[in-house]
Subunit: 253 residues, 2 copies
């Protein structure tokens, strides 16, 4: 008898963003596996074994989870945000593809969650109100020329751009290089937001423009949003402006 | 004394994807406003006025919600999925921008939700495991040449592509034109998925390739996913394959 492998999105942090589906899976699991800060978010309880690991061992973590499910456990692999977006779902299916053929018969379920760009967008207003793209800068698995090509394409297509993992240990200069490239391709007045740790105690929002934004403020907990040509600030009484990408295109020209 | 305006994401349908934050806002509201199918998802209760409207009157709906909040009501504007992604958040801030200056002092809160592409991705495996973009084809507010330019940019950048609103009444031919364009720009063996009404009773998943996919199967409840050059099927025992876009880039060449 084999078990079940849940790949669970915990959302950006607050319990208010943890779906009932994810809560139910966490309540049912007997093994919890993940990067330590995410495992730490799940309260301890009797009957739940916990395997917290470093953030460089995703594929080992996926294999361990598959093996334990194969042995009959109900395993929850936890990711922050949505496990399908720059997180553990891809790692698990890579492990399935390269691993024990028996794993292809396992009951594997991906449980979606609120991703960082959605939390950031909610806090800011409606910056993702029109076409957008999401690009990860943290990638020792992806050559810089692929990132540069995607940034160029995103600028050419006039997408709103969400940058994930903007300041990885492996590539701390990525965010500076990305902004240098985008400044050569887009209007320097384009609105930009650095949304750090949205929903958590250390949340910090910085609004700026592409030309003047200080990329030294960006760390690994920051979601970077860069507007399209339509994105603009909407003044707000008594607080920082909202950020809006309207549904219309070209209306203001 | 003014009220509060919640812009609430209901997720794709099932209660398991409705966040606790959204549930709490719906329990607190005294006015519910939205497109009828979304309003119908919220159970009736005493003290909750309901304003269901057609899907062509978004801006009127937003103004009504702002006015009622201004008068002191706790108003919940509901969207399917995430209100920040091709939904009501942008409409509300457009209305704020063009409307009564007093609205700029209102307490407006966007509550994110699971969007259709995330539900589809969770069901399919990990198709959004790497850089991706989201493009709406339903747009009488956006000229076709903008859509075509973004599809070309998405192909050039080798993004995974999520198409929202692929078969609008205003532009029923959009999905056929989009596929014709993408077939001229991308490998015809690229994996494609049509994920219809994921999580609901009438859910239907179709897997295909870009070259052979039958776009006549696509309706307004369908989320269309088109892979990058790295996206592939992972065979599964006893069921349709999973769809995977791995974290690595170029490893298979």
């Amino acid at each position: 008898m084999t078990g079940t492998l849940y790949i669970v999105g915990l959302g950006p942090g607050p319990d208010g963003w943890l779906t009932p589906e994810a809560s139910a899976a966490l309540a049912q699991a007997d093994v919890l596996i993940g990067y330590k800060p995410y495992v730490d978010r799940v309260p301890a309880r009797e009957g739940l074994a916990r395997h917290a690991s470093d953030n460089r061992v995703e594929i080992d973590r996926a294999r361990q989870a598959l093996q334990l499910a194969q042995e009959g456990h109900v395993v929850a692999v936890v990711s922050g945000g949505d496990p399908g977006i720059f997180a553990m779902a891809a790692t698990v299916f890579e492990a399935v593809e390269a691993g024990d053929p028996a794993w292809r018969a396992l009951d594997i379920r991906v449980l979606p969650g609120v991703s960082a760009m959605q939390a950031a967008a909610a806090r800011l207003g409606a910056p993702l109100g029109h076409d957008f793209c999401a690009i990860s800068l943290s990638d020792n698995l992806k050559p810089w020329d692929v990132i540069a090509r995607r940034l160029e394409a995103a600028a050419h297509g006039d997408f709103v751009i969400a940058l994930y993992n903007p300041a990885s240990t492996a590539r701390p200069q990525g965010i500076h290089a990305a902004f240098e490239l985008l400044r050569s391709l887009k209007n320097r007045e384009t609105p930009v937001a650095f949304a750090r740790a949205v929903g958590r105690a250390d949340e910090r929002i910085v609004l700026a423009t592409l030309g003047t934004a200080d990329t030294a403020l960006v760390d690994m907990s920051t979601l970077v949003l860069i507007g399209s040509s339509e994105t603009r600030f909407v003044p707000r009484t008594g607080a920082a402006p909202w950020l809006l990408t309207p549904r219309t295109y070209g209306a203001g020209r």
